[in-house]
């Protein structure tokens, strides 16, 4: 059922009209093919991949943070949230797509719901741990100096949990970037599209390698950006 989605528009490349020797021989890397297909295939796929990831991580971040804050105030919530998010995390992605498909069809919504569900466990657990690791005496001082619960949370607890929160965000982002290639089966967008095309075209190596490398590169770049963001947001972690 889902595999049909990969059919999509077949990009006229390998074996197509005007193919060059490199492509005919299906060598590892044909730079001509890359430059010819960059603006029509690779760049749009990368852009879609970034959008797909940004949406999933943003929504996941909001949900996971909200759940972590609730569980931080009401300890009994931790177990049920952990159980549900763990189940979501362990469902194989293809199975999850199949589960969602009847309700949402082969749409971006289905893809995003699946991607979001994989971010929840990691970000929930990291944020909750980060909040709980705020030293008791620091919290005591905050309250003792007259901060209310919200002020304590916003001015002290969340900033101190920031390293753990960002660590969770990093793992979630890299996970989503990787899983979003599979989500291409559903919504026919992202770097999964050229990868699937390459596979269905007798494993066209150049396209497979380039699209795969782009996904890896995107993951590394996103991770690096988050590391930089953390350094800017939490300068105090490097003090002393």
């Amino acid at each position: 059922m889902i595999w049909l989605a990969a059919g999509g528009p077949v990009i006229p490349t390998f074996g197509g009209r005007g193919a060059f020797a490199c492509e005919r021989a299906n060598r590892l890397f044909c730079s001509d093919w890359v430059s010819r297909n960059w603006s029509s295939v690779l760049w749009p796929a990368l852009r879609q991949h970034i959008v797909l990831t940004l949406i999933a991580v943003s929504i996941g971040f909001v949900i996971a943070t909200a759940l972590a804050l609730l569980a931080y105030r009401r300890g009994w919530l931790e177990r049920p949230v952990l159980i549900v998010t763990s189940i979501l995390y362990t469902i194989p992605s293809l199975a999850l797509f199949e589960l969602l498909e009847p309700s949402f069809g082969l749409t971006r919504t289905t893809a995003e719901i699946a991607l979001v569900s994989y971010t929840l466990l990691i970000m929930f657990r990291n944020t909750l741990t980060g909040l709980r690791e705020v030293p008791a005496e620091v919290r005591d001082a905050a309250i003792g100096m007259g901060m209310g619960p919200t002020q304590t949370l916003l001015r002290v607890e969340l900033p101190l949990a920031a390293p753990a929160i960002i660590a969770g965000l990093r793992i979630a982002t890299v996970t989503v970037i990787s899983l979003a290639t599979v989500a291409s089966l559903i919504d026919n967008a992202g770097l999964g599209v050229p990868i699937l095309t390459a596979i269905s075209n007798d494993v066209f190596k150049t396209e497979l390698i380039v699209a795969g490398a782009m996904a890896v590169g995107l993951a590394l770049a996103a991770d690096a950006l988050l590391v930089i963001a953390q350094r800017i947001l939490t300068p105090w972690t490097r003090a002393g």
């Binding site: 919290r139 005591d140 100096m145 900033p159 920031a162 939490t234 002393g240």
Partner: protein, 333 residues
Amino acid sequence: MNIQTSAQSEGSPSFSKAARLELRAVSKRYRGQERPAIPELSLEVDAGEVCVLVGPSGSGKTTALRLINRMIPLSGGDILLGGRSVLERDPSELRREIGYVIQQIGLFPHLSVADNIATVPRLLGWDRQRIAARVGELLQMVSLDPAIGGRYPAQLSGGQRQRVGVARALAADPPLMLMDEPFGAIDPINRARLQDEFKRLQAQVRKTIVFVTHDIDEAIRMGDKIAILREGGRLAQYDTPAKILTEPADEFVAEFVGADRALKRLGLETLAEIKLLEPNGAPASAGSVPRTASVRDALSQLLAEGGRPLDVVDDDGEVAGVITLELLGGLLA
């Protein structure tokens, strides 16, 4: 020293307030515990006075302290600050008026020293300029280099952190300060220095202070009044250090202050405060002792010199008088 005089001569705005504190039949009972942590405690601390709560562990001294700023809810009785019940106040608002220093200090690791000190002024909505001026003033007051304001707590020594903690607690000029073993985590040499600095600071700011410690020597050094608590949160004696040392109320207090309580009493006074013998011309051969020394230290030196008389000298080296064993012994009578 220079720093402090200059801070004063600038006509620094703001250490004006101190309030009288009254604990009226205060009790604390924890659910599921048979005995109350504090059965009934009544204490009065005059404005500008240092009251030290001292006692063995389990005597409820920290609990009593935390009842005052409502970090722990009262089970019974009332606490009046400046004549007004703390129970009528919004807890956060109340706490902004009470300086709070704890043993682990609890500086905010993600904020600079200056931002840490600015915590309560910010909560009170002071403007930027006023906060900056206040932070500078406080850093000077606790003998810290104003340049330290930009550092993070992790970049400070233990003693510096403690000073920042005190400056932070003093920031909004609170009428009352609560200090829970503030020097407990400091090594003995630095602790003595911080205690001296604290006394100098208190002479300047004249706050009402409730100070918790388990160390009777610290209590004697720091307190205008000492409240000795025993296990089970009962008040054994509440009096001046001198009174507690000369007239311990019972066996428990006598044992708690120690068998050397006579010596401890001598430690309360310096030679400048006692009547010396006239220097009768010829200098005493055994040596000399500065007039700023405590009577206890002078006695120690006398004993070390085989009990022969000592000259007491002023800052400028002038002989102000002579001390003998008989003279110091007479002080205890």
